[in-house]
């Protein structure tokens, strides 16, 4: 057990930096800078994905055979760190981090061949049809029904909190195919086109005034049965496989480290009657507590990635990083608004639209603080609420 970096990886950071310097456009950088959500502005995030894909770097976490990079865990960590350091917009996760890994693990060869390349190159933009108005934390109670009809299923029902459904051309969805027995046993995992007749999409405006989420309605929507992943009524197994990736595959620590560094710079600029806020012991204490938590998370995430790349199922550990990552993100955004005081009260979402070129009131570094704080409250709700994650740990790890 050691932390030594192999010789060949030492030059890797330089290689990544050089690539970033050469390939990042101003437009993409600006979108990264203005991003106040896990879900970056679509146009620039997709442009960035295409650039990365041309280099073969869009999905480092995928197996090499399917278009991954074959990097070691530490190389992947370096890469993730350099991306956030350069303030690139985060890649939109539904295809690369959810549907892709899921198809790699559970899809047929035909499905893998059809979909994986288009996930990588961005031709397919995926959204996730899981939650329903009556099925949130209790996801297995979902009701959207898929009735068999010839070679098709006919879908009726509704999905909600479908991130970026209004930008998507594909959806992976959990639907009910059997109403008898345990709720988990009658669920099927389907892939469908968003332009099918009978689909209506209604964007939902969030607290940050951005329509990031949607409700999607299905009215007799015809989906071919060949678009099923896994066996009929066995979609819950597929979903659980995917959730492990959704929760465990994400790296929160690099982004949190960068945010903390920037908050320190902001605190240098804020003057108290006895000098910069950065030197205030109470403020320092708060920052230090977060730094300690983030360092711990960084290593917890490394342990999980290391298990994943050794082919082990990190299982409930991924619930732990989901809780830690999201709640630390919330605390970091909170420290930022505490550092900025009334400057964070100024509300100007119009300046955060990439390319809008609107004048900013107050220090530029303050403009994202409040929208990001508000938006980050969703992180402990989505992807299986943190209450659900704690339940998983209690049950699966502690045997309670």
């Amino acid at each position: 057990m050691d932390l030594r970096v192999p010789e060949q990886e030492k030059s890797f950071r330089e290689e990544v930096r050089t690539f970033l310097q050469e390939s990042l456009t101003d437009d993409i950088r600006q979108a990264g800078k203005l991003s106040t959500s896990v879900f970056a502005p679509v146009e620039q995030a997709m442009a960035w994905q295409r650039i990365l894909n041309d280099k073969g770097w869009a999905a480092p976490h995928w197996p090499k055979a399917y278009g991954g990079t074959g990097w070691s865990v530490s190389q992947r960590a370096i890469f993730a760190e350099e991306l956030v350091r350069a303030e690139t917009p985060p890649l939109i996760p539904m295809g690369l981090h959810m549907c892709g890994p899921c198809l790699i693990g559970c899809g047929s060869e035909a499905q893998q061949q059809e979909y994986l390349p288009k996930i990588l190159n961005g031709e397919h933009f995926w959204c996730q049809g899981y939650s329903e108005p009556g099925a949130g934390s209790d996801l297995a109670s979902l009701k959207t029904f898929a009735e068999k009809d010839g070679d098709d299923y006919i879908l009726n029902g509704t999905k909600i909190w479908t991130t970026y459904a209004h930008h998507a051309n594909k959806m992976f969805a959990l639907v009910r195919t059997n109403r008898d027995g345990k709720p988990q046993q009658g669920i099927t995992f389907l892939l469908l086109d968003m332009d099918l007749p009978g689909i209506t999409i209604e964007p939902i405006v969030g607290l940050d005034e951005v329509p990031e989420q949607c409700q999607v309605f299905f009215d007799n929507v015809r989906v071919p049965q060949k678009n099923r992943v896994g066996a009929e009524n066995d979609g819950w197994t597929v979903a659980k496989y995917l959730l492990t990736f959704e929760r465990g595959g994400q790296e929160y620590a690099p982004g949190l480290n960068v945010m903390l560094e920037k908050i320190r710079l902001m605190a240098e600029k804020q003057q108290t009657v006895s000098g910069p806020l950065k030197n205030d012991p109470v403020w320092q204490h708060k920052l230090a507590a977060l730094e300690a938590d983030v360092l711990a998370l960084e290593f917890t995430e490394m342990r999980i990635k290391s298990a994943l790349s050794a082919g082990k199922d990190p299982g409930a550990l991924s619930s732990m990083t989901k809780i830690l990552g999201t709640e630390l993100l919330q605390k970091v955004t909170e420290l930022r608004i505490e550092t900025l005081g009334s400057q964070a009260v100024i509300w100007q979402p119009q300046v955060l639209v990439p390319g809008a070129d609107q004048p900013v009131i107050g220090p530029e570094y303050a403009m994202t603080a409040m929208p990001h704080y508000l938006n980050s409250r969703a992180c402990s709700i989505y992807g299986g609420s943190n209450e659900v994650q704690r339940g998983i740990i209690a049950k699966a790890v502690l045997g309670l």
Binding site: G206, V282, S342, I346, L374, R377, S380, I381
Partner: protein, 377 residues
């Protein structure tokens, strides 16, 4: 000791509650907030209603058309209005602006207060500055004395109601350094005076404010409220009243957030049960309740101690504002979490109350600032 409202106070509370019920029923209120996606002119009709109901007259002397009431009545009124997310600039105009003017010279009072009480004058207190953690003594903006005139130079940040105000009360330094209580002065400045530049912006809670730049703005020395260079005590007194009002309004918002969350938990079903039946959530809602009641207790402590002129009134005000920040954060976050995705939408009232509490914490020193002030008091 008696925590009962007087008959007069009860009437004031009832009229405010009725107003909120009639004019700001939850849905239409939220609708108003949702529509407020751009800068809006002052809602003159609502403001006139405030005048007709006598609310703009609350703290002023009868000779200026006032009702001669105090901080207790302001608390009662604002707590009731806080349940309705009102956007009207009551605190900026009546509590802060009015707070300075009713302690100003007889001439300044006569020129301003009758119009204010009638709803024809808007005010704002320009105190905060960019990149300066708020406290009165941390003021850096300068005003220089030039014969019988004063020249103001500098920028004020996040001035609540600064975009709509007819007159500004500007806190500036005529002597000393940031950190000194001496050398602070207060000036009554026409918001449209030469050299005043206002950049209006929305604030997170659905209200409006402005960055206000003073480019060599010249005012006569008679524009000074109180003695030149000796404005700290006055500013402190008025600020304390402003903090009481802001907290009273916020307690109204806290109680709505708690009630809506508890009600939602009774109707939202998951795993075959209303989510309020899960002990994990029950404990958290119990903690929300405790946090709200503690805030209410500190509001009463601070308001009563201020009304009666106790020595430790300022200590209690700092404790209250700190508690408001901390309890507000906790209750807001739990309210969203327990509402789930719905709590994140612009559609439901929850998020709008959350935003109001975020603004209340950020303005005039957040919880950290007031805990530090409390430690020094």
């Amino acid at each position: 000791m008696n925590f009962q409202l007087s008959e007069e106070q009860q009437m004031l509370a009832d009229s405010a509650k009725r107003f909120v019920r009639d004019h700001f029923v939850k849905s239409s209120d939220v609708e108003k907030h949702r529509q407020n996606k751009k800068l809006m002119p002052l809602d003159q009709a609502t403001w006139q209603q405030f005048a007709e109901l006598g609310w703009l007259a609350v703290p002023f002397d009868e000779q200026h058309g006032g009702l001669g009431m105090g901080v207790l009545e302001t608390m009662v009124l604002l707590e009731a209005l806080g349940e309705g997310l009102i956007m009207a600039p009551y605190i900026a105009t009546v509590v802060l602006g009015g707070g300075f003017l009713r302690r100003a010279s007889a001439e300044q009072q006569a020129q301003t207060l009758p119009a204010l009480v009638e709803g024809k004058r808007q005010l704002a207190f320009a105190a905060e500055e960019y990149e300066r953690v708020f406290s009165l003594e941390n003021t850096a903006m300068t005003a220089r004395v030039n014969g019988s005139e004063i020249v103001l130079d500098g920028t004020k940040a996040c001035v609540m109601n600064g975009d709509q105000a007819d007159q500004l009360i500007v806190l500036a330094r005529t002597a000393g350094q940031p950190g000194d209580r001496g050398g602070l002065s207060l000036f009554l400045v026409d918001a449209n005076a030469d050299g005043v530049e206002r950049l209006a912006h929305r604030t997170v809670d659905g209200r409006q404010g402005a960055e206000i730049r003073f480019n060599n703005v010249t005012v006569p020395e008679t524009a000074c409220i109180g003695a030149l260079g000796d404005g700290y005590a006055l500013a402190h007194t008025v600020l304390m009243e402003g903090l009481l009002a802001l907290s009273a309004e916020s307690v109204g918002s806290l109680s709505v957030l708690l009630n809506e969350t508890v009600e939602y938990s009774k109707t939202r079903k998951q795993f075959g049960l209303p989510i309020g039946k899960f002990q994990a959530l029950q404990f958290r809602m119990a903690d929300m309740f405790i946090a709200m009641e503690q805030t209410r207790s500190l509001l009463l402590a601070a308001t009563l101690k201020t009304a009666e002129g106790h020595d430790d009134a300022a200590f209690a005000v700092h404790a209250m504002k700190a508690q408001l920040g901390r309890a507000g954060r906790k209750i807001a976050q739990e309210a969203i979490q327990i509402h789930g995705g719905m709590g994140m939408t612009d559609e439901l009232g929850v998020g709008h109350y959350v935003k109001r509490l975020s603004a209340a914490d950020g303005l005039f020193g957040n919880a950290d600032v007031h805990l530090a002030a409390l430690a020094r008091t």
